[in-house]
Symmetry: C2
């Protein structure tokens, strides 16, 4: 699946409700899911980890849609290696 297809799928599945909720409250869900991911990483099964990465990705993507950002454009920043130093592997530690 491409990143563009994933964003389109998420928009079709959740876009209307997420738009009603608004950007700020949707971002709060994203943060909640990051917390659930922390717990899954510490203690839970591989299947639960997959679910939590999936949820964070979905909430990140829907937040991007509400902010007018294409995740495929965001991902493309890394297509030619580290966007900071331009190297693969990165040589700069990507500190901004």
């Amino acid at each position: 699946m491409t990143i563009e297809q994933f964003q389109q799928t998420i928009d079709e599945t959740y876009g209307e409700r997420d738009a009603q909720r608004g950007l700020e409250r949707t971002f709060m869900w994203l943060v909640e899911e990051v917390g659930e991911l922390a717990r899954a990483l510490r203690t839970e099964s591989h299947e639960r980890k997959v679910e939590e990465f999936s949820d964070v990705l979905a909430w990140l993507t829907t937040t991007a849609s509400l902010a007018g950002v294409e995740m495929s454009e965001a991902a493309a920043r890394f297509a030619e290696g580290c966007p900071k130093c331009g190297e693969t592997p990165c040589e700069c530690g990507r500190r901004r």
Copy 2:
């Protein structure tokens, strides 16, 4: 770009250093980037928002690699609509 290609690119660019840092410390970077995204969403330009979504996606992906999770498998959970209710658009509000 596919989600699988993105994860491979991130692994090639950052995988060795991130593995040396370890899962827990890499997760802390992810959380730091979520904070930077919050600030960008509040106050900053479209270009900065794209950068911050990009950074969160990259750190989420490298964390997944360290946890042995394929982001393409994670994304596939949403391929047939809401994984909770199975509908597109979702009818359940995706509360777990």
